[in-house]
Amino acid sequence: MSATVLAPDALAALGDVADGATVMIGGFGPAGQPTELVEALLAQGATGLTVVSNNAGNGDDPLARLIRDGRVAKMVCSFPRQVDSWHFDAAYRSGAVELELVPQGNLAERIRAAGAGIGAFYTPTGYGTPLADGKETRRIDGVDHVLEHPIHADLALVRADRADRAGNLVYRKTARNFGPVMATAARRTVVQVREVVPAGALDPEAVVTPGIYVDAVVATGTHAGGEASA
């Protein structure tokens, strides 16, 4: 990875995204969703995307609009159905979007494996269920396991709380969720933060995502719920 670039706005941070790209989008529902970056992806125009995200949009949030606008060919996610996941539900029922449903812990571990250079791993989660249909299994120490493979991406969009100029990140409460693992698993990782601070201003003991994983950072001045930062 090269040194982290501080971008002037979300669209510049995003850079080029090819049609057909695999894009990881952080967040667990609204918590930790990189709203401004997904807005930028909407504006950027790439289509035929595979989106890896725990959920599949709420209401008319940018991820939901990406699906509504037919830009997403496939969702890889653990919990697409929400009370307000109208756009995904419609696209799924019409066959406009393909779904790979992955148990949440397997999703996280498969993303981690991609970032960690692990070729595949055996997990007990999902064994004997429809989500393991057709997958290789193995009994290890008396426990049945399923072989799962890494999920790599071309691009990861992540929301953190603060970044330093070296690209180191800290998050805020449960908004941390998928950000740290997604940041490791993509060829390019773009992060929106509330604020950027000088190198050395984050405690090196408390850095959650080291800057090596971060290609571009944009300060959006917003945090949870989109409020302007104090």
């Binding site: 667990f28 529902g29 609204p30 918590a31 930790g32 725990n54 653990s78 919990f79 697409p80 159905r81 996941s85 995904f88 539900d89 799924y92 029922r93 779904l99 449903l101 992955v102 148990p103 949440q104 812990g105 397997n106 999703l107 996280a108 571990e109 993303i111 981690r112 997990t123 007990p124 989660t125 999902g126 064994y127 004997g128 269920t129 429809p130 989500l131 049945d144 998050y171 805020r172 409460k173 449960t174 908004a175 941390r176 969720n177 998928f178 950000g179 740290p180 693992v181 959650v208 945090h223 949870a224 719920g225």
Partner: protein
């Protein structure tokens, strides 16, 4: 370690709150506990604050506290049901891979889940009604089912239509195989496992009536 002295004693079926209290009575002080969405969440209301039970939420936190005052909700601080929670002293945050490592690795003492069906050998079905055309969603259910040291279920014993939810063999898509050890219901507490279902306690019914209701032969706990 069970605390039956705190358990509700009723001659009538338990309310949901009473089921939750009955589950709470079985949770040892100092335990690390994950509570599923829905009925299991109510268990938190019945845990003695002095018992040192720590709540895990799989979206990345240990030391989860109760819901905040409505105007104090923080969109960055939510539970697995995506509703606002609070942070207790001694809390810690971690990312999804670490959170599910904690769950899958057997570090959570008790996981309390809801269910559509549980089999007498402990198979669990709680993520899909199997309805064709329904939008599927699994979340952390499969990880929670197999990960904790002890997975228990809270549910009504019958569906709204009167069909048993404790069954010889699940007909709905499975969440996990042989993962549930105890089921807490309005009519009875039952242990399930390799030896089949055994009645621990009944509420407003009898062992024989339960067998008839469920169409199962039930053992007794010794």
């Amino acid at each position: 370690m069970t605390h039956l002295e705190h358990a509700p004693r009723t001659d009538t079926p338990l309310t949901k709150a009473q089921i939750a209290a009955r589950v709470a009575a079985d949770i040892a002080p100092g335990s690390y506990v994950n509570l599923g969405i829905g009925l299991p969440t109510l268990v938190a209301d019945h845990l003695d604050p002095g018992s040192g039970v720590t709540l895990h939420t799989e979206n990345g936190m240990l030391g989860m506290g109760p819901a905040p005052e409505p105007d104090a909700a923080d969109p960055d601080l939510v539970n697995a049901g995506k509703t606002p929670v609070t942070e207790l002293p001694g809390a810690a945050y971690f990312h999804q891979a670490d959170s599910f490592a904690m769950m899958r690795g057997g570090h959570i003492d008790v996981c309390v889940l809801g269910a559509f069906q549980v089999s007498v050998t402990g198979d669990l079905a709680n993520w899909s009604t199997g309805e064709p055309g329904a939008v599927p969603a699994v979340g952390g259910a499969m990880d929670l089912a197999v990960g904790a040291r002890r997975t228990v279920v809270t549910m009504t014993l019958l569906t709204k239509d009167g069909a048993p939810k404790l069954v010889e063999r699940c007909t709905l898509p499975l969440t996990g195989v042989a993962c549930v050890s105890r089921v807490y219901t309005d009519l009875a507490v039952l242990d399930v496992g390799p030896d089949g279902a055994r009645v621990v306690e009944t509420f407003g019914t009898t062992h024989g009536e339960l067998e008839t209701l469920l169409g199962l032969t039930l053992g007794r706990t010794s």
